[in-house]
Amino acid sequence: MLLTGAQIIMECLLEQGVDTVFGYPGGSVLYIYDALYEYKNRINHIRTAHEQGAAHAADGYARSSGKTGVCIATSGPGATNLVTGIATAYMDSIPMVAITGNVSSNLLGLDSFQEVDITGITMPVTKHNYLVKQIENLADTLRRAFQIAGSGRKGPVLVDIPKDVTAQKYEFTPLREPLPMPKGDFPFPERFDQAVELIQKSQRPFIYSGGGVIAAEAFDELKDFAGRIDAPVSSSLMCQGGYDQTDRRYIGMLGMHGTNTSALAIKNCDLLIAIGTRFSDRVLCNANLFAQHCPIIQIEIDTAEFNKNIDVDLKMKGDAKEILAHLNELISPVSHAEWMNQIEGWNAEFPLVQEAAEPEEVTPQDVIETLDRLTDSEAIIVTEVGQHQMWAAQFYKFRTPRHFVSSGGLGTMGFGLGAAMGAQIANPEKRVINIAGDGGFHMNCNELSTAAQYNIPVIELIFNNSVLGMVRQWQKLFYDNRFSQTDLDRNTNFELLAQAFGIKAMTISVKSDIEPVLKQALALQEPVLINCHIDKDFNVLPMVPAGASVEDPILEM
């Protein structure tokens, strides 16, 4: 059929099973928005307050559903406003397709109004990007974009389309199903033999799981594997819910804000098995002091992550799900009762605890654990970046994958609200709570207007301490309490602000507020803001200071 470029974009989105896109209209995407008008019964478009919100929403949609998120923006500032969102997705390997309009082909390169070289700008933060200059390439380019975004190590792909290409007509041939995903690598049998040998020799194996477990949907395989080799399991920030955190084997995060049990486990283990992880500096801490005394097996889909930040002894390249499934076939169950007893002893000895200074003081731990209880550990928890992000990961009990949505690699403040809306739209039956700090909330609070307009029932739970708590914590530790620019003291009235956007607001000031307010918020089927006042001197602990070994966290400060 003869279709315009804009209609071809719609058809390609439908081919990929896309039913929701996030975006913001503008001059260069007029034809695309005209087509969205025509296709509005089949493609739901959420217009955010700012393009950054749209990118984060597409990201949150992808993280919480496993599907590829789609965002659309116009040329120039529209496109540049996506960049932080694209970089956020890139750092965490999240599948996303960003479609940007550009000025017409004849105006490209002339510094035309709202022209920007967005393919040049996003080259370092996309898995790949395209500028489509000929309409005959449009459909195949979009198909390829989805294929690249969703295969191998996933990531964002940007497709930049000049306005005239969206207006031209071309014969469109539908594809019955999306392009097949290219078949990935699988380790040679010798590697499996070596892995089995290392595992069988080990008396104290330790599993460290990363975001790749979730990307590969390897939850069941990991659970089976951990049981077979009778090992404790820790996770990176990106693997919250990749392993059932209520299971006795789970010992919390590893790394800068890992648990003391994880630190002791890595210190005492005789084999480290790292699954779906790139050994981020936030986990390694001092790379030269990380797991020096034991062999490391790394299961990873991206070859470039082997021996990048740390040297490993056995590399197993491929999909974590397939590799674990095969390992499970090869390994007969063993028992390390002594090791597991030791682990459970540490777990009991070093629980994560936040002390209240007085009986009625609100602690973040109390709020999050109450939320966990009231939602049966089944809510999707989104975060901004900072102390509250670590507390969310520490105190909510994630039991299944895709329930923790957080910017791990890039550490993007302002990510949460947009991402929460995306997660809510992907999971209408779920409760979605964005746990925010007042700093991150201030960055993109404009998106409350979007939540209100579309009645997206997210709960915006702000841990309001009037400071930039994480940076302030570093200033406390390393900068002699010189609190440079971290005391916000803005006096923004969050409750009034929420009401201005047409959103109900609630307040938690004392401990006895926590449960009734959370219950009340959860009972509503509409967006709600909770301003939860906390003391500014709560710290995130344990903490491994810069340069120290992951084995030596500070437990008190």
Binding site: M123, T303, K308
Partner: protein, 163 residues
Amino acid sequence: MGYSNTEKEYVLSVLARNTPGVLLRISGLFSRRCYNILSIVAAQTENTEYSRILIVVSGDDRIVRQVDKQVSKLVDIEEVTVLNRDEAVVREHLLMKVERSLQNSEKLVEIANVFHANILNVQPDSMIVELTGDATTINSFIELYNPYHVLKILRTGAMAMMK
């Protein structure tokens, strides 16, 4: 792990699809990952849909393996080969302009002849010579001309082909 930590030069031969910006994708990757490019040569291959890009990098084994893997990940890259200088023919091309006078003219021509270099242009006060060879030959060639006041040097950077 058995890495050599000594800084060496490596020649990477990269086969890339001829898409817009492919050279930028490769060079951008080098700059953002802090790898050093000593030289880069790019041109179409026998198949016009592909370019062959030869990059000389300095680093140790570990870095060159990272470079290899990171470049291989780029969507438009078909193949990356790290060429071993012993198993490959490595050549580069030199154009050099040297100051010329009646007194030194004969000397200049003599050096060119020893190296089988071509004299491309002779002016009353300068001449241009051309030489193709490996880096060592070209370096010693330049060194011999140095006393005669070299005005300008253009080098292509290394091209390399497996034997």
